[in-house]
Amino acid sequence: MHIGVCRRAIRRRMTSLATLVATAAFVGACRPPVSPPAPPSIQLRIVGREHRWRFEHPGPDGVLDTPDDRVSTGDLHLPADIPVRLELHSDDDLYFFGIPALDAKQIAMPDLTYWLSLGANPAGRFDLLGDLMCGGSYPQMRGQLVIEPWSSYTTWLERQPLLQANASRTYPESQS
């Protein structure tokens, strides 16, 4: 092969490779981050404190009580179509937690652990109830349950702060 032809061929190939790399990089930059696959189920922790709820979510590792845990307040976000198990605690008072639309309710009490299984539910928004048991009404304990597709949930979760900064959690083993 003539040496000139060979150089052109090499240049073409390099140009194609650069284009390929550039294209791949462009496509990669424009696509949303790939979510970790949805787990078969998920477990969250809900903690009552000073008449508010704190929601503790497992991070990408899917396991609670690890450094990537996230924390949220206000509305509760959950993934759709995945069985969810809620672990309820209280740091002070005795609280009621309920989702009437799902016929789900439980208490949160200091020193004890209670569980609430929600099963797998389709996406939707539902009323979230909370109150001091036998006590007055605390509107800040009420909000919305937002059940959304897994990808939306993980996107929302990434925006929530890490829990580890102010985590001081020592909860007992399951009581029920």
Binding site: L94, G98, K105, I107, Y114, C134
Partner: protein
């Protein structure tokens, strides 16, 4: 920050406000705000400033009464007029006599007692059992034939008011020596423990120790606790005296609630008026924030105790020996011979779970037969009374349920329904064996009961104690059910249920003037807050500055039914929370002079001197009017009262039959003139 933490309170301002309140008989009209722009806050009807608007500051540090702030915002219940009209419209549905009225005559009685609960039930409110209030016990302590009143207080001394006749009372506390000023009071019972013919007194408290007093017959009491064996210290509720082994001496079931307090002592911010303690001297144990989950924590169980009367004012603990081991959260209990074998059984309330029904086996052993006899019981049982609603000779059982009514916000127009229980099964923890409201067990005989609360009309809302008595003197016992939660909740009515021939309990509180409360007074002063100072973080201070006087809904706890003014009809004395009592006097004897009744006083000889456990039947023609004398006067309360039998207009009774606890049957032949008192003394030897 927790907004409900304690902080110092201006005691002079609170005392002034409460004293004015007491002096006006609970009326709000005299507590007019001193600040010129606060007049709209002080309307007696309960008008309140708009939510979020800053309340006007007090005129200055020396202002006698800070401006009133209602919590919740509008304490005039919007539903009250509608409910009144609905009930009045039902009056014609029955011919039972409801053509008379009750009126609060507190101001005429001379009684100045004002109930004070701990701060956990007021300024630093939390859902803890302190808000169950205190007892009202009654007895003729000095032997003058008139029934005296003993009010129990949480903060400050208890008070004994001696009946001097004509509906008048004088403070007899100091002379009697029964103030118990240094304890957080709970309950009290009068009973003749040593069978010497006068009522002795046992008072209970929350972790202050219980006290047994011996009466000298003239109303002077001596503390004999130390040698009595009854010096229990815990979270005690009602003391129930009865003779479980029928040996002629009254034994004691001491109802203990459960451990609802922490070990942290707090100084009361309330300055009780007119007592010997310096302001802030009295301390109380801080309640658990999760007290109403106490039944889920076995370590908080506080067992009720059975004591056998050994004579000589001494008792021995026989709880384990008899097997009456009840671990429920128990404020009260009642005696009931459910299987009619002559041995007194005991129905023990549980305010957070299943009740207990302890059948008495020959005075030696007790067995809990609740599952077989009462397969479902109210979940949050608070008050109880055994009585014969239809005069069939079988004792029925009425149980009120307060705590089920805390699970959901009830429509005020639908309070005759059972609770729409919202709490999860893990919390109620009774495996489907609960009734979410009051129960009325109709005794079918043969030890069998049928629950008929809805059919007979026994459901009420936010009920505490109940008392029974024949308020219209027609020969059937009626019921008064104390109700309401008080601060920081909305107003809840008291209930008056008139017995329609044993078939139905008719709602009658509006018809007979119990509700609306006199002058539409639904609220009273609770405490003072300094919203610019120490209390600025209190939730009631949001959007407010300066000192405010927080008003809350009035609410009742216990009651006693007896003839307060001696006019021949039955009146109702009601113990309130954080406010003066009610003395609801009936005008039945005035509006219907043909009303007739018979009083019966018992004197046991082989049986206990008080005759507790006696079944008394008054025979009038072909009617038999049946009562069992048990000393139960209301929630937390026991005492000694003459038995009152309405004769439904008859001029005389034909006879009185008494079945004594000893088994002796005695008949007093008539005619027994209406209006008289029949004294029945048990024969000293068996017939």
């Amino acid at each position: 920050m927790n907004l409900r933490r304690p902080s110092p309170i201006p005691p002079a301002a609170l005392a002034a406000a409460i004293l004015v309140f007491a002096a006006t008989g609970g009326g709000g009209a005299a507590v007019t705000p001193s600040a010129p722009d606060a007049s709209s806050d002080g309307a007696a009807t309960g008008a309140a400033p708009s939510e979020g608007a800053p309340a006007p500051a007090a005129a200055g540090e020396d202002a006698a009464t800070p401006p009133r702030v209602d919590m919740p915002q509008d304490l005039h219940p919007y539903f009250i007029d509608g409910r009144k009209q609905v009930q009045l419209a039902t009056k014609g549905s029955s011919t039972v006599d409801r053509d008379f009225q009750f009126t609060n005559h507190l101001a005429d009685t001379g009684i100045t007692f004002v109930s004070h609960e701990t701060d956990d039930s007021a300024k630093t409110y939390k859902p803890v059992h302190y808000d169950h209030g205190t007892a009202l016990a009654v007895a003729d302590v000095d032997g003058d034939g008139l029934t005296d009143l003993y009010f129990v207080r949480q903060v400050g001394p208890n008070e004994l008011w001696r009946n001097v006749g004509g509906g008048k009372f004088v403070d007899f506390t100091a002379e009697a020596g029964v103030a118990v000023p240094d304890k957080i009071g709970s309950s009290a019972a009068f009973a003749d423990i040593d069978n010497d013919g006068d009522p002795d007194l046992y008072t209970t408290s929350i972790r202050g120790g219980n006290v047994l007093f011996e009466n000298d017959g003239k109303g002077h009491f001596t503390d004999v606790t130390a040698a009595s064996g009854l010096a229990y210290t815990g979270h005690s509720g009602s003391p129930l005296f009865f003779d479980y082994d029928r040996d002629g001496r009254l034994d004691l079931l001491l109802c203990n609630i459960g451990v609802f307090t922490t070990d942290t002592l707090r100084t009361s911010a309330v300055n009780p008026p007119g007592e010997t303690l310096a302001a802030g001297e009295l301390q109380f144990y801080d309640g658990f924030e999760d007290a109403f989950g106490g039944h889920l924590k076995p370590e908080r169980t506080e067992r009720s105790l059975l004591f056998h009367n050994e004579g000589g004012m001494t008792f021995a603990d026989t709880t384990d020996a008899t097997g009456l081991v009840d671990d429920g959260w128990t404020g009260d209990a009642t005696v009931l011979d459910g299987n009619e074998d002559g041995w007194p059984d005991v129905y023990v309330l549980n305010m957070q779970g299943n009740d207990g029904y302890w059948q008495n086996d020959g005075g030696k052993r007790f067995t809990n037969e609740r599952e077989s006899v009462f397969p479902k019981t109210p979940w949050g049982s608070m008050g109880v009374k055994s009585f014969d609603v239809d005069n069939d000779g079988h004792q029925d059982l009425y149980v009120t349920d307060m705590h089920s009514d805390m699970s959901a916000v009830a429509d005020p127009l639908a309070e005759k329904r059972k609770s729409a229980m919202m709490w999860p099964d893990d919390y109620t923890a009774t495996d489907g064996t609960s009734i979410w409201g009051n129960a009325f067990y109709h005794n079918l005989g043969g030890g069998k009961f049928e629950e008929v609360s809805d059919a007979i009309g026994a459901e009420t809302f936010w009920p505490w104690g109940l008392s029974v008595g024949d308020l219209n003197a027609d020969g059937f016992d009626d019921a008064f059910v104390a109700g309401g939660m008080g601060y920081p909740f909305r107003y809840g009515v008291n209930s008056l249920l008139i017995n329609d021939g044993g078939k139905k309990l008719l709602d009658s509180e509006f018809i007979l003037g119990i509700e609306p409360r006199i002058n539409d007074e639904f609220a009273g002063p609770q405490f003072v807050l300094d919203c610019s100072g120490a209390d600025k973080d209190h939730s009631d201070c949001v959007g407010r500055e300066g000192k405010i006087l927080v008003w809350g809904a009035l609410s009742s706890r216990s009651s006693a039914i007896f003839d307060v003014d001696g006019d021949g009809d039955l009146d109702i004395v009601v113990s309130e929370i954080n406010s003066p009592p009610l003395v609801l006097e009936s005008d039945l004897a005035q509006v219907r002079p043909t009303t007739t009744h018979l009083n019966v006083r018992l004197k046991g000889t082989r049986s206990n001197r008080d005759g507790f456990g006696s079944k008394v039947t008054v025979v009038v023609g072909d009617r038999r009017i049946v009562q069992v004398y048990d000393g139960n006067t209301g929630y937390l309360s026991h005492g000694l009262l003459p038995m009152y039998f309405g004769l439904d207009g008859a001029a005389a009774a034909d006879s009185v039959e008494v079945l004594w606890p000893s088994g002796e049957t005695q008949t007093v032949a008539g005619p027994l003139e209406a209006g008289s008192t029949v004294a029945v003394e048990e024969p000293a030897t068996a017939n």
